[in-house]
């Protein structure tokens, strides 16, 4: 009896999409207004899901309070109210697209999730644009 348990969280951050090795013209052509050098920002919504068997003693796959605390410690405390490009080491040389942010979040959480469980991250950049990464 494998069940997927999911926890929704969110963080607010500034970012800019660009490659320093490209010209401003090429950055504009590829990244459009997301290439504003003064940054723009988003309320990111995050859904973290863990799948595994139900523990017959507790009835939990994983205590969602524990998952909530892991998300706070490893995601919110490092990304919330931050400038992703300048404040977050993982994006020093990595473009903070939704895809890359989702992979970074997955990598931050994976070591803290039971090895027999699967992990999935859904990241909403806006209510209309979102990405899913499962490792």
């Amino acid at each position: 009896m494998r069940v997927k348990v999911s926890r929704k969280a969110n963080f607010n951050a500034a970012h800019r999409l660009y490659r320093p090795d490209w010209s401003h013209e090429k950055n504009d052509a590829v990244f459009g207004k997301c290439n504003n050098p003064n940054f723009h920002g988003h309320n990111y919504d995050l859904i973290v899901s863990v799948e595994g068997p139900i523990n017959q003693e507790t009835g939990f796959v994983m205590d969602l309070k524990v998952l909530k605390d892991l998300i706070k410690a490893h995601v919110e405390d490092t990304l919330d109210h931050k400038n992703l490009n300048t404040d977050v080491p993982e994006f020093k040389n990595l473009n903070p697209t939704a895809e890359n942010i989702a992979v970074v979040i997955w990598n931050k959480l994976r070591p803290h999730i039971d090895k027999t469980h699967t992990l999935e991250v859904v990241l909403y950049e806006t209510p209309r644009n979102f990405v899913t990464y499962s490792g």
Copy 2:
């Protein structure tokens, strides 16, 4: 041409998470404020999905009015405005965690769904905590 059709429903119920064979201290340590002996409650949101081929005559995988009626008869009528611990036989000896409620709902619906179709249940305990069970 297999398609998944989904129907959203909801029910409101009281519950308490605890094990009668554990001490109150252990119940508090594991289940926290969900172990209030006087119960608390939730508006549960439910998404039931059935996957199968499109019937070429009707254009339906399954008439969603039929699925709506099955959810009403087998889920809402037995769980809505109930105390899960005291009013619902399935939880006499089963902790009503979101995981266990999802499995109970899946088991209630499975006999009424075409054998060649797959069945999935997503249960939201709150907008931030939800679980998925597919049998």
Copy 3:
């Protein structure tokens, strides 16, 4: 320049609608399945709004972090994961309808809001049923 600032919060609680001085039949006739003697429950959503002039120094009508903390101390800590009928003194002799809960919340918050500000409480019992009280 008066502006209304609003903060959304939520709490999960069990309750039962009935009058102890009425027969079970009359309670059933008036309160229907909300009169389950074993209780049912809801995820209550709450919007608290405060209206006043913008403080020209801070740009705030009222710091929403302060409002968030007031809601936590006076509403969430007293109502979340509680049985309204048995755990909350205000409902000892008061039927916990959405209307009465909204008035109780307003009365709990009013003393902590600047006297020159107005206060409004919107309480969602379900996404389809909600009430508004402004004192």
Copy 4:
């Protein structure tokens, strides 16, 4: 590192469910009030998802602005503010159920998506009824 990127869109349309080769009685029995000969209508919500590897140069699986433009050109411009039965050639001889609309949308978009990418369409006929098609 495969990631699924999703874009939400919407269109408003009228439709009627029925088969011209059936009697009105049979159409009513199967399609109920959806068989109103004068049509009814919906705000359809659409989620289009494309899965593939992250392009290491851009950090995108696929530029969501490009996906947005594809949805506009191939879905919105042909279905929005239309009567599906009378204005859309694909439904001349095909019942515009949610299942069939999802398949039609998938077929419209598939030729424009990179062959190495997978494509999924989720179509909400109402917030409570929706279907998923992945080819």
Copy 5:
């Protein structure tokens, strides 16, 4: 202690915006694609609010089950799965704009609401376009 109680409902309908006494060109200029002669449609969301004093005996301003039944009898049964222009007598000579639909709904409900109570109707034509009428 006056409280406003609100009930959310919804109906799905087809409509067309135009004036028969105008040329097709003028209708197109004013109503754009809403003037499709074959109709288009919407999932209309409706919030009906009634304000009055709390009945000290029940704790209700008005039983929301009664309001739900009034909305079903006077709004849903006459507008749901209908073509507003051709199936609903009130729009025989009245353009079914959101504004006019809201006024029609208000007029249908007003006779059934206690005279000492106020009545407000909010009608969402889409999640982005909505209107409010209070008599």
Copy 6:
């Protein structure tokens, strides 16, 4: 027959709350993590409402396509994908709190709305924090 018509829009922006004439310590004490010197950001949701009589010829208070275009020209084009502090002249000497942003938006739109109509702006900084300004 006065009706309020409302249009929802949104923009994504970076900002920072602080006063240059205050010490960093005082800014931190008052604005907390919103005082990140590298900025953070939000998806702002905006509801603009105009109230007036229904035009008996069109059935509109105001064509919502016109209101949509006004919001695009005067709000989205000047605030979307911008850094409010550095890119928007109105915030050169004004702290971009939600309250002040709402007032700036109201002032931008007011000259373009019929003088006999009232104007209201609701601005969501996050789904849990929002402000309302009516002039």
